[in-house]
Point group: C3
Chain length 308, copies 3
Amino acid sequence: MTTPDRTRHLLTLENLGRERILALLDRAAELRASWRAGTLPPLLAGRTVVNLFFENSTRTRTSFELAARRLGALVVNFDIASSSTSKGETLEDTLATLEAMDADAFVVRHKENGTPARLAAHARRASVLNAGDGNHAHPTQGLLDLLTIRDRKDRIDGLTVTICGDIRHSRVARSDVHGLAALGAGEIRLCGPGALLPDAQDFPQCRVTDDFDAAVEGADVVVMLRLQKERMENLAGFDEATYFARYGLDATRLARARPDAMVMHPGPMNRGIEIASDVADGARSAVLEQVANGVFVRMAVLDVLTRG
Amino acid sequence: MTTPDRTRHLLTLENLGRERILALLDRAAELRASWRAGTLPPLLAGRTVVNLFFENSTRTRTSFELAARRLGALVVNFDIASSSTSKGETLEDTLATLEAMDADAFVVRHKENGTPARLAAHARRASVLNAGDGNHAHPTQGLLDLLTIRDRKDRIDGLTVTICGDIRHSRVARSDVHGLAALGAGEIRLCGPGALLPDAQDFPQCRVTDDFDAAVEGADVVVMLRLQKERMENLAGFDEATYFARYGLDATRLARARPDAMVMHPGPMNRGIEIASDVADGARSAVLEQVANGVFVRMAVLDVLTRG
Amino acid sequence: MTTPDRTRHLLTLENLGRERILALLDRAAELRASWRAGTLPPLLAGRTVVNLFFENSTRTRTSFELAARRLGALVVNFDIASSSTSKGETLEDTLATLEAMDADAFVVRHKENGTPARLAAHARRASVLNAGDGNHAHPTQGLLDLLTIRDRKDRIDGLTVTICGDIRHSRVARSDVHGLAALGAGEIRLCGPGALLPDAQDFPQCRVTDDFDAAVEGADVVVMLRLQKERMENLAGFDEATYFARYGLDATRLARARPDAMVMHPGPMNRGIEIASDVADGARSAVLEQVANGVFVRMAVLDVLTRG
């Protein structure tokens, strides 16, 4: 398997490079301005984008779909449950079949790390966009988080960013860290219950702690991750209330961060578990800006990769 | 919860007012003429309509989808089963997320009364269109029924309209009655087996009876409702044959109505249970006109509410 | 039930006639050239195509959907599982309802032979395209196979074509045979284990055998059919390895065919059961050309049937 071409595919932000990341953020901001001015051109007219979601995610799929269709692309939501893949066809044959129908890009979500890379290695001409694979990467989430921080803070350089929750299983944390490090964040702190913290060597750039109060202290940005209910059941000694008490972000805890600290969450949120409702809905929350930017970042990625 | 804005949302025909209802019917007729002349303009180009169907209804969803897309809107069918809502996200957060992606209108069907109103109260900018909630309202069905009657009869004023079937659980009956009353129908008769009749105070405008022969006598319009199989099983002493004998519309019974009486049904029909096939397919039946008008009424509602 | 109009519907290639088949192939080739030159006009703008798939087939549905949408049609994927049909509505009423919404064409797949013909007999104005019914017919698969053969061989006339696999249950084999015979193929050989061979009278044009080596000898074209796993379980004495040994196409067996013989498969392929991977991916394989041509053949059928 050859290394996939970074100018054709987007598989991870790791080692993507500062320049390439900044170019995508700048393009997203340009497309956002065009959309809001009502002057977005149909840059992808005649192109076909296929959503290949092997894990449910209406939110991310809809964001990609709106991005592609607003740029004039034709989008096919490939229904995995009733597809040839479920009839024993290899994933590579499904990809080759859809490429033979002149698909230009595949948006892939899969529970196993590396599936998008495997498909990218097999694609003859089409682009592969990773929409989340296992706990490996979710690069468009990373990009939209970077854009949202840059919108509010005017920079990434030197910022202190705290990410809290189930870091061990989180592709969002990984892509955020790769993006933040590439753009020169000052300190990245990872926090969560011990059982949900990552192996230390996975995040050499970061400070890792299970003390949330300390992790929030003086932060410019606090990113809260969704806690999957199944994980909580495996956390000895935790229930929703104890989790919220120790790792939930409420106004008191947020007061430890900088006065102008911003709060983020990739959604969907568990209100009252990892985040208090007044924080989620407060002036410091950038949650809905993240969602809005998601569409523009995906437009930029589709535009840059397929029209390159 | 504030009262939702009637110029932005369509939640019920109750108290909507004669002028507003007539404006929607007139707009539907205009759009119908444009469509049939091949000159329908893409009035909703650049707009995004989200179908949020928490109950299955391919018929109604397809009607809304065709209405929106023929006007140039981009339509997203939000898949509830695989959505964040099923991951514990609140419905309000799902709405806010989709609004952040610049959704302009939500078409909502839900088994609980009031869900569309609840979402309308929460929407910051988007329109909410009720596509049926519990037994509360189905306003576009009411509007398409009014348009279909007006097409054939040239008026609503003074007409005698009989609605027969499971009135108690029917949102169609409620929206029909609200619309007919607003436009001055002469007499509205509600008929069905006792267990399926509504509480008297729910329909102060109507004559309620369990005698179908009497209810049909001299009617200008006969609206037959679909009987859900589950309901019949709970009706003591009824099976399909006895239901049809007492509350089914066949040619003999229809002969009691006016010679030019028209027959309606919101579909899907149970032939041989609430309606005889020869009546359903006969010259007096306006069933397919109702379906056709459904698309135009939904176009009108989308146009008037989102473009104001 | 009247005989459906062959200029409005496509139900089978049987008795369709050489001229009509050639006209469809020629139109497909024209549309292919336009698409590849980036000059395909929106011939179906304003038209509505409804996919009615009562059997799962993402591959065929996607091919039809791309064909229609690239020609500018609006496509609705009618969700059978949540539709009125599942609420007891007759299939004819579902069709009539969608026609009342101004559907122009129905693409129908159904496990029962004759369902598309039944719907065609009922359609008042719309075209019905058979996308596969039982083991009766799959006419667009037949057409795309003919186009693919003609592309490589410049003719159909006089060719020796071998079709191997589960002939008995295959609508692909039936439509291939009808098309090949109409265009003057020299010899058509059908091969498979005895239990999967058809009744002799079903294929009077063909030589039928259970000896694959003999059937491949000197062939110009070898069409391998997918073996459904359920069928194998009912084949006494067969497992995957024995099936592949006797009826799988590998390089050794292919060497018996003409040196320039081409290999085809309708997909999805069971690699290592009916076809060896090196043959499937080799230079003689036309499998991906079949897929590509599928889209253009479906464009041609939609264009010719709905625009006349």
